[in-house]
C-alpha cells in the first residue's frame, strides 16, 4: 500500500483503479503524475491541501502514468499533471496542468455541489 507525497494512496493496478475509482459511490480525485515531471512536483502541495481540506467528502488517490499507462490512456490523459474528479464512474471535471490552490479548491467545491444537487434529484443516497 504505497502512499504518495500528497498523502493519497498510490494505485498499483488496473483492477485497483476500477475498484477504488470507477466502482466507488463517493467522489474520488485522481492525480495522474510521474516522477520525472516537473510541474507534477509543483502540484503535490496543492493536492495535499485539497486532501486536508476535503478529507471527509472526497477521496484522493494517485496514478503514476509510467506504471499504469493503460489506465492513463483509457482515461484520455494526454499530458501531466492531470487531475480528474470521478463520481459513480464518470469524470465530473478534468484539470490539466499545474494550477493554483484556489483554482483547484473551487473546482472541487463545484463538483461536490453538483453531486449533492444530483443526489437531491434522485433521492436520498449517502455521498
Amino acid at each position: 500500500m504505497a502512499v504518495a507525497k500528497t498523502g493519497g494512496k498510490v494505485l498499483e493496478s488496473v483492477e485497483e483503479f476500477k475498484k477504488t475509482v470507477l466502482d466507488s459511490n463517493g467522489p474520488v480525485l485522481v492525480f495522474f503524475t510521474a516522477p520525472w515531471c516537473g510541474p507534477c512536483r509543483l502540484s503535490v502541495p496543492v493536492v495535499k491541501d485539497v486532501m486536508k481540506e476535503f478529507s471527509s467528502r472526497l477521496r484522493v488517490v494517485e496514478v503514476c502514468t509510467d506504471d499504469l499507462p493503460e489506465v492513463a490512456a483509457d482515461a484520455n490523459v494526454v499530458s501531466i499533471p492531470t487531475i480528474q474528479i470521478y463520481s459513480r464512474g464518470e469524470v465530473m471535471d478534468t484539470i490539466v496542468g499545474c494550477v493554483a490552490k484556489s483554482v483547484l479548491f473551487s473546482s472541487v467545491e463545484k463538483v461536490l455541489e453538483d453531486i449533492a444537487l444530483r443526489v437531491g434529484d434522485v433521492g436520498s443516497e449517502k455521498s
Binding site: 516522477p35 520525472w36 516537473g38 501531466i80
Partner: protein
C-alpha cells in the same frame, strides 16, 4: 547512364493509302526530331494489289510470332527491327523487303497501334525512369484478412514516423518497440536511439559543456562576474571564472526531459490510432511474427506488410576485459560522474562524448587506431582534433586497447597495443555500430543482410521479401541519421498506402558533428570530390576566420573557425560540397542544404548578400582559392 539503343521502325504500305502516308509522315518527323533515337525503313508499294500480294501471299507474315499478325491485311503494316551493333544495310525503294525472322523484334501494328507507339516514344519516360520508383508488387490488397495492414518493428525515429503517416493514410498499423538491455543493463522507453541514447541527450550534454566553457572562457571578458574567487584584479580585468558542474543535476534533468518525450510519443501514437506494443518481434513467416513481452508472454500477430526499423546498437569492445567498458547506451544515464574517462574510437560518437565530458571538467583521453572521423572531410576532421587537444582532451594515436582489468580501487587499468598503460574510472567504447538483426528471424523470410555490419539490403526500402520493408539505421547504404529515417519512412508510407511514386532522395543530406568545435557539411568532402572527379576538375574556395563572439576572450586568441566550398570547374562552378568548422554549425548549414537541392552554383552563393556580423556570412563572401596559394586567413571588415 546507359545509352539507349536506336529504334528501327519498318513501315510498309501502298502510296495511295491515306493511313500509310500519315503514319509515314509522323515517323519521318520523329527521325528529324530524334535522329539518334529512331530510324525508319520505308517499304512503299505502288498500289493496293501489289501490297496485298506481298503481305498475304509471300509468306512474310509467317516470320512473326505475334498472333495479331494473322488477321492483319490492311495498310500500313509496321514492326520493330532488333537493334544492331552496326547500322543496317538499306536498299532504297525495296519493294520486296527481305526481312529475316530473327531480325524482327516486335510487331507494332497498323495505323492506330503505330500512332500509340509513337505517343509512348515521345513521352519523357527516360528521365522519369531514374526518378520514379519501381517497387516490386507485394500483393497487398485491402481485403487481406490479416490483423494489420502494416506492422512496424521498432519505435524509433523511422518507425514512429512511418507508423503515423501510414495510419493517417487509413492503414491499420501496429508499432512494436522493445529495448534489449545493454550489456551493462541499461534500458529505456519508447522513441529509439535518437531520443534516449543518441541525438537528444548528446546535444543537451554538449550544450551543457558549451555553457560551462562560456563561463570559464568568456564570462570574465564580457564583464560578467560569476562567483569568481577574488573580485576584480588590479589591472581592471575580472578574475577567471571558476565553475563546478554537478553531474547528478545535469544527468537528472536530461533524463527527466527524455521521460517526458517517451510519454509524449506514447500519447502521439495513441492519438494517431497506432497500436503500440512494448514487445520483441521475431518473424515466423512472411506474414506472421511472434511477439514477446518483458515477462516472457508470447503472442502472434499477422500483417499484410512489415516495416523493419530496428536501428543499430554499439559494437562491443572485443579485447580481453572488453566487457568492463560501457557504451553510448550507458553514458547518458550513469548514476554518478564517469570521472577520468577513456574514449575508445575516433567516430563522431567517441569524439562528441569525449568533447562534452572534457567540457564539463573531466579528465578525458581518446584512443585512436588510425584517423579521426573516417568518412568525413580529412582537413576538417584534423581541425576538430586540433581544437579538442587545445580544449584539454588527450589523444593516444595509433593504439588500440589490448586489455582491460578491474583494480581493487574500482578503477580500470587499460593496457594499449604499444605496451603503455593507464588507469581510468570509466572506459567508453565507440568503435562503430551494427544492426541488431541476428535474432529477427530474417532467414525465415529470405531477407539478406550485409555480413560486415548486419544491416538489411534493400532497394527503395523494399527487401528481398516483397512485403517486408526496412528504413533507418537498419537499412544498409543509407546515412545513419534521424531525419533520413523519418523522411524515408514517411515517403515509404505514402508509396505503400497513398499511391505515391516518390522515392527518398539520399543525396545532399546535411549533417553536423557536435564536437567542442562543431562541424557541419553538405555534399562531397574534398577528398571524395577529388577522387570522383579528379583534382584538375575541382576547385576549393576557403577561409579561416575568428567568430566575432570569440574576439574578446584572450584564451581563444588562437582558435579559429574555417569554411570551404568545393566547386567543379565548369563555367557555372556547380557547388559540390560546403564545409564549416565553427560555432552553431548545425544552424549555419541547414539553409545551404535547401540551396544544394535546387542545384547551387558558386555564383548563387557569392551573389547572396551576407548577414553581418555572423559566421555564416563567411560562406557567401568567399574569394580565395586553395590553388591560388594565397593566405586563407580573413582580414578585417
Amino acid at each position: 547512364m546507359a545509352s539507349i539503343p536506336r529504334k528501327t521502325v519498318h513501315i510498309s504500305g501502298y502510296s495511295s493509302c491515306g493511313f500509310y502516308t500519315r503514319i509515314l509522315n509522323i515517323l519521318k518527323s520523329l527521325t528529324v526530331l530524334f535522329p539518334t533515337r529512331i530510324e525508319i525503313v520505308d517499304h512503299e508499294f505502288v498500289d493496293r494489289s501489289s501490297y496485298r500480294k506481298w503481305l498475304l501471299e509471300s509468306g512474310f507474315k509467317e516470320k512473326f510470332s505475334d498472333p495479331r499478325v494473322k488477321d492483319h491485311s490492311t495498310s500500313p503494316f509496321c514492326w520493330l527491327e532488333k537493334p544492331r551493333a552496326e547500322p543496317a544495310q538499306r536498299t532504297n525503294g525495296d519493294q520486296v523487303p527481305d526481312i529475316k525472322a530473327e531480325d524482327i523484334e516486335a510487331f507494332i501494328g497498323g495505323h492506330d497501334d503505330t500512332l500509340a507507339w509513337c505517343r509512348s516514344f515521345m513521352a519523357p519516360c527516360e528521365e522519369k525512369a531514374t526518378n520514379g520508383v519501381e517497387m516490386v508488387d507485394d500483393g497487398h490488397n485491402p481485403g487481406h484478412g490479416y490483423d494489420y495492414d502494416l506492422v512496424v518493428i521498432g519505435g524509433g525515429s523511422g518507425g514512429m514516423a512511418a507508423s503515423k503517416e501510414a495510419a493517417d493514410l487509413g492503414a491499420k498499423v501496429a508499432c512494436l518497440d522493445f529495448v534489449k538491455p545493454s550489456p551493462k543493463g541499461t534500458t529505456w522507453g519508447l522513441g529509439g536511439t535518437c531520443v534516449n541514447v543518441g541525438c537528444i541527450p548528446k546535444k543537451l550534454f554538449h550544450a551543457g559543456s558549451l555553457l560551462n566553457e562560456a563561463f570559464k572562457k568568456d564570462a570574465a571578458f564580457y564583464g560578467v562576474k560569476v562567483g569568481s574567487k577574488d573580485g576584480s584584479r588590479e589591472d581592471g580585468l575580472l578574475a577567471e571564472t571558476s565553475t563546478n558542474v554537478h553531474w547528478s543535476v545535469l544527468r537528472e534533468n536530461i533524463q527527466n526531459y527524455i521521460r517526458g518525450l517517451n510519454f509524449k510519443y506514447r500519447v502521439r501514437l495513441r492519438e494517431k490510432e497506432v497500436d503500440y506494443h512494448n514487445k520483441l518481434a521475431t518473424f515466423v513467416d512472411d506474414h506472421t511474427i511472434e511477439i514477446v513481452d518483458k515477462k516472457g508472454r508470447v503472442d502472434t500477430l499477422t500483417s499484410s506488410r512489415f516495416l523493419i526499423a530496428t536501428g543499430g546498437r554499439p559494437a562491443p569492445l572485443e579485447c580481453e576485459g572488453g566487457e568492463l567498458a560501457i557504451s553510448s547506451d550507458d553514458i547518458f544515464s550513469l548514476e554518478s560522474s564517469p570521472g577520468k574517462t577513456l574514449c575508445v574510437g575516433a567516430s563522431y560518437i567517441s569524439l562528441e562524448c569525449a568533447g562534452f565530458l572534457a567540457g564539463i571538467g573531466l579528465d578525458v583521453t581518446v584512443a585512436v587506431r588510425s584517423i579521426l572521423l573516417r568518412g568525413f572531410d580529412r582537413q576538417c576532421a584534423d581541425k576538430i582534433g586540433e581544437y579538442m587537444i587545445d580544449h584539454g582532451v588527450k589523444f593516444r594515436r595509433e593504439v588500440t586497447p589490448k586489455k582491460l582489468e578491474k583494480l581493487e580501487s574500482g578503477e580500470i587499468k587499460v593496457t594499449f597495443s604499444d605496451g603503455s598503460d593507464d588507469t581510468y574510472d570509466t572506459v567508453l567504447t565507440a568503435i562503430g555500430r551494427h544492426a541488431d538483426t541476428e535474432k529477427l528471424g530474417l532467414d525465415k523470410i529470405g531477407v539478406e543482410v550485409n555480413p560486415k555490419n548486419k544491416r538489411i539490403l534493400g532497394k527503395y526500402e523494399q527487401t528481398q521479401c516483397p512485403n517486408v520493408y526496412a528504413i533507418g539505421d537498419v537499412l544498409d547504404g543509407t546515412p545513419e541519421l534521424t531525419p533520413v529515417a523519418i523522411q524515408s519512412g514517411i515517403l515509404l508510407a505514402r508509396r505503400l498506402f497513398g499511391g505515391s511514386k516518390e522515392p527518398m532522395d539520399y543525396r545532399n543530406v546535411c549533417t553536423t558533428v557536435f564536437t567542442p568545435v562543431e562541424y557541419s557539411c553538405v555534399g562531397y568532402s574534398e577528398d571524395e570530390a577529388i577522387e570522383k572527379f579528379g583534382e584538375a576538375a575541382v576547385e576549393v574556395y576557403h577561409r579561416e576566420f575568428q567568430p566575432l563572439e570569440w574576439s574578446l576572450s584572450l584564451g581563444r586568441g588562437h582558435n579559429f573557425a574555417y569554411t570551404k566550398v568545393i566547386v567543379d570547374k565548369t563555367p557555372q562552378e556547380n557547388v559540390l560540397g560546403i564545409h564549416y568548422v565553427g560555432p552553431n554549425a548545425g544552424e549555419v548549414m541547414q539553409g545551404y542544404g535547401v540551396a544544394m537541392k535546387q542545384g547551387l552554383t558558386f555564383k548563387n552563393l557569392i551573389e547572396t548578400v551576407g548577414i553581418h556580423p555572423t559566421s555564416s556570412e563567411e560562406i557567401v563572401t568567399l574569394s580565395v582559392t586553395k590553388s591560388s596559394g594565397e593566405d586563407a586567413a580573413a582580414g578585417g571588415c
